[in-house]
């Protein structure tokens, strides 16, 4: 909604805060990788927004293909995030990266599946809610990229 640069900053900041307040405990050495992963997701969100172009009809009444697109994009980005964070866990502890990925396989599956469902069903609803909150049509919001 707010562009790639904002997405990067928001993603990194979110994981920075999460690194201290997460119910799983303080993130520690993984935190920079979490920040990088979420920054990537923020960046890709900005890029996707740019690629979609200016089409307010799609946001108020998104076609099914757009919901599918968002789900698939969420799946890929979730996988990318998990790969990055697994690398962040594997490197400091000297675990081979492939082993770290395989050990976390089921967690990744659950993570990806839940995001597919969440993004496919709630993404555009959230966009509309935020649009109403800030009182602007996000599709005409000034882009930074």
């Amino acid at each position: 909604m707010f562009g790639a640069a904002f997405g990067v900053a928001l993603g990194a900041l979110t994981m920075f805060i999460n690194g201290f307040l997460s119910p799983w405990g303080v993130a520690g050495v993984v935190m920079p990788y979490q920040m990088a992963g979420m920054a990537l997701i923020g960046f890709m969100g900005g890029v996707y927004r740019r690629v979609l172009g200016k089409n307010p009809v799609e946001i108020t009444d998104p076609p099914r293909i757009l919901n599918l697109e968002v789900s698939f994009l969420a799946a890929s980005l979730t996988l990318a995030y998990d790969v990055i964070t697994n690398i962040g866990w594997a490197l400091p502890y000297g675990v081979p990266i492939i082993v770290a990925l395989i050990q976390g396989a089921w967690f990744t599956v659950v993570h990806v599946a839940s995001n597919i469902v969440f993004f496919g069903s709630a993404f555009f609803i959230l966009v509309r809610v935020i649009s109403n909150l800030i009182g602007e049509n996000p599709w005409s919001f000034r882009k930074e990229v």
Binding site: V51, L52, R64, I65, L68, E69, S71, F72, L73, A75, S76, L79, I98, V99, L101, I102, Q103, G104, A105, W106, T108, V109, V112
Partner: protein
């Protein structure tokens, strides 16, 4: 439904994601399998495999085999049988051995009893002692048969 280049690219990414996930899950189970095999190799000297047959032929014509059952080395027949079936038994102090009363809820009934045999020299031999006293050897084949006892063999 018309697919734009953008949609196709994103669906391609999703497809790649599913491939990676399937690969990771397959790798997970491959690793689990390797770990278990390594553990079995580690305990190779402490475990052995035996074949156990439970023969209900005189009850309902059924014969069930439990081949390659993993048991601890030096395991007695009663313990091995308990690994593959529900066994009820009574210890007789006078005999210093246990007597099997039922296997998988098929009880001795006054005419039919659970008797055990071992496969030696290409024929079945009556078990010479109580099942809890008989120590199994690696790859030994044992049969429990629900029958009207016909001993001496």
């Amino acid at each position: 439904m018309e697919f734009s280049k953008r949609s196709l690219t994103i669906f391609g990414l999703g497809w790649l994601t599913s491939l990676v996930l399937v690969g990771c899950v397959a790798g997970y189970y491959y690793m689990e399998c390797q770990n278990l095999l390594a553990k079995i190799r580690e305990y190779e000297g402490c475990i052995m495999r035996v074949n156990i047959c439970i023969n209900y032929k005189e009850l309902n014509g059924t014969i069930v085999w439990y081949n390659n059952t993993l048991v601890l080395a030096g395991c007695d027949l009663l313990s091995a049988t308990k690994k593959v079936a529900v066994v009820n038994y009574t210890y007789w102090p006078s005999q210093k051995a246990s007597f099997v009363d039922a296997i998988n809820n098929v009880w001795n009934n006054g005419t039919h009893y659970w008797m055990w045999y071992r496969w030696t020299d290409n024929h079945w031999d009556y078990g010479p002692v109580g099942a809890d006293v008989y120590i199994l050897s690696p790859n030994e084949t044992i049969m429990w048969r629900y029958e009207k006892p016909r001993y001496p063999p």
